[in-house]
Symmetry: C2
Subunit: 423 residues, 2 copies
């Protein structure tokens, strides 16, 4: 029996009862002969409450101090969890990100892990302890300041520790039973996926699936750490994410892993762009300089008569105003005619490594959308993904139609609890 | 203009409004040309809420993890305070006890400061920042674990930092206007003391005055750091505590500094103790082995006919059951007849260096009590203090009578807000 890293999200430790339930699960893993390292998020709404407080005190919470504030949440949950474990007769020690050796860069509020030096964790394990580590936080290499890792940061902490400690598996406990073939809130017949390749999981995460964040899966793939996503409530076997299926992990030789959707994006269309070299570059340099990440990009074929073309791209709605502002300021320099902004769009993505060798997938996808009466506005593809942009109102119907068309519906019509994964 | 250390208790930073008010006060000190180091407690009831959570999770919260939990409170308040200061246009950085170099022993929940290495604070100050430091916490020298200093710990943090940084003064901001000649909740005519010597302040603190804790005053005296106790609400000049009065600090050549009282103690009487050498030692070794601190001790004159005596002592009510239990177990070994336990007692103490040279003080004290119809049960004295134990019901009346008898009453009959000082 080797070392396991378990991560519990905020909803799993939302109150004293939740903490005691999680403590029992951790002790069970220890009793089964594992060395156990636990990464824990802040309790329930703690982080939101701290953000509220910060906004009451200052309209623009500052980076370094904001991180200092937010990390109090994990300090509370990890100490309580260690106490609950001791109360079950097992030894536990809690460690801040800094104490656990989570070394980051100095970008406050969204720091990146650059090294993990888990010497104190090793010692605690060697002495027979369960080690509890604060998720979402680290310490900056140069200034020794407390940093936070941004959204989904606790998952990344867990995978990074699993890599540094050479763990057998990184278990991500959440409030859903695993990764599903579609969002179960939208598709009642969505099925839990037994095993999925890193590659497909990365595309699902990038396409709007919220169970695991892209950065966390990327880290796991780089260090080849299998992830087991499962519910802290049910105790059922969840979804394994790895390079290759192991043992009895079912691989259904599915062409398609799942359908993801995303309604958090908006579309910007730059109208009347001179169709000559350097124009697209000028537009996207302007966007990049505003530190906005764009997603899909489509350039229309230019009409021969005008020598003008349109360029559309999608971006997070939260960056919409910033992008419009930046482009308006650069309007004369770039030389386009006008801008259009549309935040009533949705994106549906079909993901599956099988589509590499199944040329009919794209056609079937478009047929399913057409049969459901859904109009396609933009198309973008990678080797193992097809994404389309539609009206936001059409998204749920489109997801259900595609899910059925690709034979992903389960036989049962079970109700599934679904929620966020905390951070 | 030199360096000042300011300490703000939990009631001063109980909510966002309080934090903003305190931030303004800090910025004022900075504008006046001072280098400013601020020690802050947890917001209002935060600590009690964390203790509640801990008790829900585990009936016996463990030392190391309990400290990890409690220190989250200061992390929140200090980060918010730094944000509020930045919002006023000044630079501030917050530091945990560990980051501020507060090194302690390893006795969790009541650690003692053994060294202060404020290198990061010095750097922050040299760069023009206001430094905010978490009170009540440190890091253990041997294990690098987070520790807490116990009740009143933030005051001690402030004085220790003031000593290490060679501050001009340590300002303790609280919710009262200073140190009073008696508890203003009991004595309406209590007067604020303008200046008081360390020596007298130590006796008052030991006798039940709660404005400053004994340990903090002791530390200030050892390193000769003047303390200025004042209100964070009124901004009025408060009470200076130092070796010698400075400048315009009024010394009224008072014989008596003040009257303190304490109703948190109980009295244990060991009845029928053989009057021979070693008996008292056996009793108090038994108590000491239970880690109970006793206060007053009185042995009655033994009656010649029986060769038996009674020994009474006082101790915190919270340790009463433990003491009785320990003595009962040792009954046959020690050889006393019976135990009496009385938790309806109160202690009144008169403190003042002037009594060394004024032989009439003791007589006047007893006369005042007698005139008020208060019966004395135990008496204990030091060079600059007289304490008596009475019925708990008589304490308030006794304090008022003594306060008047020694001419301490103020002329005005002002209402004063009085409360705890946080931690």
């Amino acid at each position: 029996m080797g070392l396991v890293v378990q991560k519990y999200g905020g909803s799993s430790v939302a109150d004293a009862e939740g903490i005691k339930r999680v403590a029992k699960r951790i002790v069970d893993a220890k009793k089964n002969g594992h060395q156990v390292v636990v990464v824990v998020s802040a309790m329930g709404d703690t982080t939101d409450e701290l953000i509220d407080l910060a906004e009451q005190v200052s309209p623009i919470p500052a980076g370094r101090e904001f991180d200092m504030l937010l990390t109090a949440g994990e300090r509370i949950s990890m100490a309580l969890l260690a106490m609950a474990i001791k109360n079950l007769g097992h030894e536990a020690q809690s460690f801040t990100g800094s104490q656990a050796g989570v070394i980051t860069d100095s970008v406050h509020n969204k720091a990146r892990i650059i090294d993990v030096t888990p010497g104190r964790i090793r010692t605690a394990l060697d002495e027979g302890n369960i080690a509890i580590v604060a998720g979402f936080q680290g310490v900056s290499q140069d200034k020794k300041d407390i940093t936070t890792l941004g959204r989904g940061g606790s998952d990344t902490t867990a995978v990074a520790l699993a890599a540094a400690l050479d763990a057998e598996v990184c278990e991500i406990y959440t409030d859903v039973d695993g990764v599903f073939t579609a969002d179960p809130r939208v598709v009642k017949k969505a099925r839990k996926i037994d095993w999925i390749a890193f590659e497909d999981m990365l595309e699902l995460a990038a396409s709007g699936s919220k169970v695991l964040l892209h950065r966390c899966v990327e880290y796991a793939r780089r260090y080849n750490i299998p992830i087991h996503v499962r519910s802290s409530f049910s105790g059922l076997r969840g979804t394994w994410v790895s390079n290759e299926p192991q043992g009895d992990q079912q691989v259904e030789h599915a062409i398609i892993s799942g359908v993801a959707h995303d309604v958090s994006e908006a579309k910007v269309t730059v109208v009347g762009v001179p169709d000559k070299p350097g124009e697209a570059a000028a537009i996207f340099r302007t966007i990049a300089n505003s530190e906005i990440n764009i997603d899909m990009v489509v350039q229309n074929v230019s009409a021969a008569t005008t020598a003008l073309t349109d360029i559309s791209f999608t971006l997070p709605k939260t960056d919409g105003a910033k992008a419009i502002d930046a482009l308006e300021k650069a309007k004369s320099a770039i030389g386009f005619e006008s801008l259009r902004y549309d935040d009533q769009i949705g994106k549906i993505s079909l993901v599956g490594a099988g589509m590499k060798t199944n040329p009919g997938v794209t056609a079937s996808f478009f047929e399913a959308l057409s049969d459901a009466g859904v109009n396609i506005e933009l198309i973008s593809t990678s080797e193992i993904r097809i994404s389309v942009v539609t009206r936001a109102d059409d998204v749920n119907e489109a997801v259900r139609a595609v899910h059925t068309a690709f034979g992903l519906d389960s036989d049962s019509d079970e109700a599934v609890v679904y929620g966020g994964t905390g951070r």
